[in-house]
Amino acid sequence: MNKVISKHYYSENVVSLEIEAPRIAKARRAGHFVMVRVGNTGERIPLTISTANVERGTITLVVQKVGVSSRKITELEVGDEVTDLVGPLGQATHVENFGTILACGGGVGVAPLLPIVEELKKAGNKVISVIAARSKDLIILEDQIRQHSDEVIVMTDDGSYGKKGLITEGMEEVINREKIDQAVIIGPGIMMKFAALTTKKHNIPSIASLNTIMVDGTGMCGACRVTVGGKTRFVCVDGPEFDAHEVDFDEMLMRLSGYREDEIKADEQYLCVSKNKGKA
């Protein structure tokens, strides 16, 4: 069950894994995610289903190493089994022909953006994608995004690839030259906050896909709660997509930091243990 079928490195820290999961492959829609646990000591973490292949019965996850759990997943090799994999979870993306779409992906946020771009394109939209990262080696899935977009703008903070500047600058450039009917924003919390401010300034309806801390992913714990339009919502069951202009990003960023110290400690310990194992 849940066997890794293929593995591909986008960069040292970003890996895509194709995993056998026939039921999930069949049931999933763009915007859905899965909860993944590796090993009996592992924690459950949410990962977006990047693509699925119903005939092969597989789903593909694109994972960025940020801490212990994402690291354990990226360390899986072809033939290994994922201990626990459950889904598809969350509400699927609402897809229709809006007209012109501005699709904004920051860092690993491009992974969950890909299936949405694909669906929006299929629905007849004109899709302009802006993908951004700190530097060249962190830009992922550029070719795949190009396949389903009418135009792609790449931005890097340090100018090592594409245009130099923040994602919001790339967005402004597009907004200033043509009418955008709908924006989709996915990336690190801080990026989404500023991207949402940008589209708000221009009155462009926008959705953001939120990446809160989750435990179960089924609505049972409330760890993933965020304030949207003044109301508490659970990202795992009500989301992960919400009206970007209604999300309280400051609160979300604050809640994301809740376990930071523990996580850094856990990661250091894990690295230390695996190094010692390597020596033995």
Binding site: A27, M220, G222, M254, G258
Partner: protein, 493 residues
């Protein structure tokens, strides 16, 4: 033969008659109720050892001899699954412990669990002759139930119920809590091909992710699950019905009947200012991190907050479990904040007593109105309001009323909100035709537990809202009986 005739016939058995004659009732009623051996509060409050260590055989036999084997055993009507209480108790008295366990299993699939977690003081023991007529401490039915069940588990001679030859009919169980487990056991006995589908990666529902180790060790639950496996029940974890596959998909795969025991897993919050601060969490999150994800043990990846000053809001079993867990995680000061008084607390009496012994502070007739954070958004204080009891409400409990101008501030770096749960909506949402109440519970025929969709039955917390283990199990058994009826009629047609 109706039930009361059956009970009479059992009571007339020669060995029971002999036992009754062996000791005078006066002698029996003069015995004092046994005290459950417990780990000392100072030791246990910092460890996960089970608080109650269980009766010794001598203690059990002695306690069993208190029961006068009533001609009209009122205790039975206090038990939601109508265990033949005097029969199992008398078997303990005569030293036939395995026989006692067998009696329990006639009606209760999880006696080792119920003996530990039933609110006996409101159920069987509340209806015991001692309590009703003598107004003294009832026979310790719960302790005895646990004793017999544990004895059987430890003996290695667990009786696996007989299973009828397979009838080849596939039925699916949605959720592996007590309702689903009890249903599965009964259907397996009838020869059905039973598959339990569970959303989480562990089997057991609240018994695993909710109730902590110091009250109900996982190993106890695992033994019962193993019995079901031996009876041919299949388990599939990481399977969310309504997401991973729909009921329609499962019908296509040949399933003929469905039992929904998906529980009331959704945490409620109070919607007061500051509730989304870092350090404010639901009891479900707190307990799940520890009980399901093992966050308190070395080497586990899932973190948990280890507060120094922990306040738990609520007065139910979940609140007691959370507050005592906080102690075990090393908190210096732990408090329960509850808006009514001690008498109205819905928690089991024993849990309240244990919490008090372990040093939990009880701020009853108090209610939080706001959480106050520091500059990093982490909770540091709670604004609390005093309450007084007003007129009785519809539930007969006196409802709390806020005392004006009584607000004050207490320090807390962790707050666990434990003010109730709502039904899990994932499955109902995937079935628009399914009738649900406005509270989100599935509506069923009270006699058959059949839902508005004929091949779907439901029971436990998804029907009742938050209830108890034994009621969930009772529902599971009832639904099994009526689904069997339904499927038998279907195949005749």
């Amino acid at each position: 033969m109706n039930n009361s005739e059956y009970l009479k016939q059992e009571r007339a058995a020669a060995w029971r008659d002999d036992l009754r004659k062996a000791k005078k009732n006066k002698e029996r009623t003069s015995l004092a109720r046994v005290k459950m051996p417990e780990a000392p509060p100072i030791e246990r409050a910092r460890s996960y050892v089970e608080v109650n260590s269980g009766l010794t055989p001598e203690q059990a036999i002695n306690e069993a001899s208190r029961c006068i084997d009533c001609a009209n055993p009122t205790c039975i009507s206090g038990c939601p699954v109508e265990i033949n209480i005097p029969k199992f108790v008398k078997n303990i008295e005569r030293g036939e412990f395995l026989e006692a366990a067998k009696v329990l299993k006639e009606t209760n699939a999880l006696p080792a669990v119920c003996g530990r977690v039933c609110p006996q003081e409101k159920q069987c023991e509340a209806s015991c002759f001692y309590q009703l007529k003598l107004n003294t401490e009832p026979v310790a039915i719960g302790y005895l139930e646990r004793f017999a069940a544990d004895f059987e588990q430890q003996s290695g001679k667990i009786s696996i119920p007989e299973v009828a030859p397979s009838n080849g009919i596939k039925v699916a169980v949605i959720g592996s809590g007590p309702a689903g487990l009890a249903f599965a056991g009964d259907m397996a006995k009838l020869g059905y091909d039973v598959v339990i589908l569970e959303a989480l990666h562990e089997i057991g529902g609240v018994l695993k992710y909710g109730i902590p180790e110091f009250r109900l060790p996982n190993s106890i639950v695992d033994v019962e699950i193993e019995s079901l496996r031996k009876m041919g029940v299949k388990f599939e974890t990481n399977f969310i019905v309504g997401k991973t596959a729909t009921i329609d998909d499962l019908r296509e795969e040949g399933f003929k009947g469905f039992f929904v025991g998906s529980g009331a897993g959704l945490p409620r919050f109070m919607n007061i200012p500051g509730e989304n601060l870092v350090g404010v969490l639901s009891s479900n999150e707190y307990l799940t991190r520890i009980n399901l994800m093992g966050a308190s043990s070395q080497g586990m990846d899932t973190p948990v907050v280890r507060g120094k000053k922990v306040a738990v809001i609520g007065g139910g079993n979940t609140a007691m479990d959370s507050v005592r867990t906080a102690l075990r995680l090393g908190a210096e000061k732990v408090s329960i904040i509850y808006r009514r008084s001690l008498e109205e607390m819905p928690a089991r009496v024993e849990e309240v007593k244990h919490a008090q012994e372990e040093g939990v502070e009880f701020l009853t007739l108090n209610n939080p109105v706001e959480y106050i954070g520091d500059d990093k958004g982490k909770v540091k204080q709670i604004r609390v309001q005093r309450m007084e009891l007003g007129e009785p409400d519809s539930s007969g409990r006196r409802s709390p009323v806020a005392v004006d101008g009584s607000e004050y501030i207490i320090d807390a770096d962790t707050v666990v909100v434990s003010v109730g749960v709502s039904p899990n909506p994932i499955l109902p949402q995937s079935l628009p035709q399914l009738k649900v109440s406005r509270w989100g519970t599935i509506e069923v025929d009270p006699d058959t537990l059949q839902s508005s969709i004929p091949d779907i039955f439901a029971g436990g917390d998804i029907v009742r809202g938050g209830a108890t283990v034994i009621l969930a199990m009772g529902d599971g058994r009832k639904a099994a009986a009526s689904m069997h009826q339904y499927l038998t009629n279907q195949t005749k047609k």
